[in-house]
């Protein structure tokens, strides 16, 4: 009940955030050097198409009217038209979003599932070999460009040893795509029982997910470690120790209290991952939204780019909304 109240309040807070975000995204088009309708219609547009676009965007109307049109359209799922794919942008997005989500969510979950235990372990076992290895890894991971690491992994595991498939998207070309259920190919293959497709999809997932995990998991490890260490030295864990509490309970107290700040970092990792996915998708020809955005930039296809930025911001706001809600659940001190 308390949770519902808090979630409700937090959701209402989302409205003004979305409002400001939409204004910024709306004004991105104003950054274009020249006539937006002409530029957005694309190189091969006819005069009629440009005229049509000019009237949909309401370019002869006052600014607030143009904004109202933009918001109305977006709310109806109309993000404009991509001249490059000659499809409505919403169709392109529907097609590509699952692939990106698969990459981002899988990486996020693996980073959490591995990063938090590793962070706890190194906080408890200081000065081991594992600690030194992780220290070096943490330093390097913060500086290594993810797109370059992807290429190195491709070189080692594909060109050199041939263990894993090359960067040609989500499936081998000879394997037929499983019928679409969620849009994420590995998941669809699993759900539909297409084992050959499933195996191929998983193999193709390994390198991009490994690339992103290696680069971004370090944030979770470092923060978990720092927070658990700090909590092990806190008054209440030291008091538990002074009262002869079992070692496992002492550790549990420390971890439990380290969790709220770690949740925030997990949110930040997801936020970074979306940017990382753009690059890694490009490296692995993944065919997701990130690659779509890059292709749109290169070919000056503005409608999809604008939609992508809006989606990225909405994704960010949702991630931090979830962080706040998770925080509320795990910390009883937060007031409704």
């Amino acid at each position: 009940m308390r949770f519902a109240k808090y979630a409700g309040r937090r959701l209402i807070f989302l409205v003004p955030q979305l409002f400001v975000v939409s204004i910024i995204v709306f004004f991105l088009v104003r950054l274009l050097p020249g006539d937006p309708a002409f530029l957005m219609a694309g190189q091969f547009a006819t005069e009629e198409r440009i005229e049509e676009l000019r009237s949909t965007m309401g370019l002869d109307q006052p600014l607030y009217d143009q904004y109202a049109r933009y918001v109305t359209n977006v709310l109806q799922g109309d993000f404009g038209h991509s001249w490059r794919t000659s499809q409505p942008v919403i169709e392109d997005i529907k097609q590509r979003l699952p692939a990106t989500l698969e990459l981002v969510l899988l990486t996020g979950f693996i980073s959490v599932a591995l990063g938090i235990p590793i962070g706890i372990y190194t906080a408890v076992k200081k000065r081991g070999i594992a600690d030194r290895v992780l220290f070096g890894y943490g330093m390097l991971a913060g500086s290594i460009p993810d797109f370059w690491l992807g290429l190195i992994l491709i070189f080692v595991f594909f060109s050199l040893t041939g263990i894993l498939p090359g960067p040609i998207g989500q499936l081998d070309p000879i394997v037929s795509t499983p019928p679409r259920i969620t849009g994420a190919i590995a998941l669809d293959a699993l759900l539909g029982g297409h084992w050959e497709a499933f195996k191929s999809a998983v193999l193709h997932l390994i390198l991009p997910v490994a690339t992103l995990t290696l680069v971004y998991m370090t944030l979770i490890i470092k923060n978990t470690r720092t927070m658990v260490e700090e909590m092990m030295n806190s008054d209440f864990v030291q008091h538990a120790r002074a009262m002869g509490f079992k070692r496992s309970i002492q550790l549990r107290y420390a971890v439990r209290n380290a969790l709220p700040p770690v949740v925030t970092v997990v949110g930040i990792v997801f936020w970074f991952l979306l940017g990382g996915a753009v690059l890694v998708e490009t490296v692995f020809a993944w065919g997701g939204l990130g690659q779509y955005a890059v292709e749109s930039v290169i070919s000056s296809d503005y409608a999809p780019l604008q939609a992508f930025v809006l989606l990225a911001a909405v994704f960010t706001l949702l991630v931090f909304l979830l962080v706040d809600l998770a925080y509320f659940v795990i910390d009883p001190r937060i007031k409704t």
Partner: protein, 326 residues
């Protein structure tokens, strides 16, 4: 009688990159079974460090250099963490200042009490929770069956201290180390807490080591008093003797300050500014009104003034008899 606790020449320092800072400079102290002893002294004298050393809790960058702590026939400083765990909370318990900080903010107090109980007794969680309710009841918390489900932030400071005391006494320890149990509490609440503690300790026949800066509190609750200054016990004696004939100039200063504080609330602000002097002579020399040349040249030992009353001062006899104005 064999003392319950014997602290013998314990030296502890805080190791920094730039060098070690000596915090305990040879502490000698004993506690008899069933007795209440008060430890007084200004902040920075090393009272809390002494308490933590007795439980062998200190970790890096703290270092115990020397000394022995015998408790109930065992050498505490020689024990491993797991052996100590069987003593902590069972035979020796602790309460600390700022009780709210001693409790895990994300776990219900009943659970925490149960964790403490189950750390040393093989019973189920449910049984432990029932004992937790009883424990809360025994420290005078109203509606204990409801309060076990509270989080620390939902309780007042006084309530938190009652929980901490309940936890400390849940295994009827032989010794309770009460480190400033009333710091930060209202005067009326403080009284209640101390009365409760004294009553329970008496009931269990435990010894009590009450660390405090309040001379009045110590006089009221303790049979003996030990005064700490710059990491040493500088005087120890029966409460009545001590308050009548304190033999160390620093004790006299504390008593005077306490009286002044009571009279006009003008508590004498004092800090340990003269640590450096300890290397050669008595650490109190720079602040001592009756210091003589000998005080700068060597440190006096803790020597008897009369039976059961000792002080670390060359002029202890004169000071105790009031022959010099210290």
């Amino acid at each position: 009688m064999e003392p319950l606790l014997a602290v013998d020449d314990v030296r502890v320092s805080f190791e920094k990159e730039s060098g070690a800072v000596a915090v305990l400079n040879g502490v000698d102290l004993s506690v008899q079974p069933g007795e209440s002893i008060g430890i007084v002294g200004e902040s920075g004298a090393g009272k809390t460090v002494l308490v933590r050393t007795i439980l062998n809790l200190l970790q890096e960058p703290w270092k115990v250099h020397q000394g022995q702590i015998r408790f109930d026939g065992e050498d505490l400083l020689a024990k491993q963490e797991e052996e100590l765990r069987q003593i902590r909370g069972v035979k020796i318990a602790l309460t600390s200042p700022e009780p709210r900080k001693q409790l895990n903010p994300l776990v219900r107090v009943g659970e925490q009490l149960a964790h403490g109980i189950r750390a040393h007794r093989k019973i189920t969680r449910k049984e432990a929770l029932e004992l937790a309710v009883e424990a809360l009841e025994s420290v005078g918390i109203p509606d204990p069956h409801l309060r076990v489900r509270s989080y620390p932030h939902e309780l007042s400071g006084g309530m938190c201290q009652r929980v901490v005391i309940a936890m400390a006494l849940s295994h009827s320890p032989k010794l309770l180390l009460a480190d400033e149990p009333t710091a930060g509490l209202d005067v009326t609440i403080a009284r209640q807490i101390l009365d409760l503690m004294a009553e329970l300790v008496h009931e269990f026949g435990s010894s009590l080591m009450l660390v405090s800066r309040d001379m009045g509190v110590v006089a009221h609750y303790c049979q003996r008093v030990a005064v700490m200054y710059a990491g040493q016990i500088v005087e120890v004696g029966e409460t009545e003797v001590f308050y009548g004939a304190a033999a160390h100039p620093y004790s006299r200063h504390l008593l005077r300050a306490a009286r002044a504080a009571r009279d006009d609330r003008r508590a004498a602000a004092a800090t340990v500014e003269a640590r450096a002097a300890a290397a050669h002579g008595c650490a109190y020399t720079p602040r001592c009104p009756v210091a003589i040349t000998a005080c700068e040249q060597s440190t006096p030992a803790l020597e008897p003034v009369e039976d059961g009353h000792a002080a670390r001062c060359f002029r202890r006899g004169e000071v105790a008899r009031g022959e010099v104005q210290a």
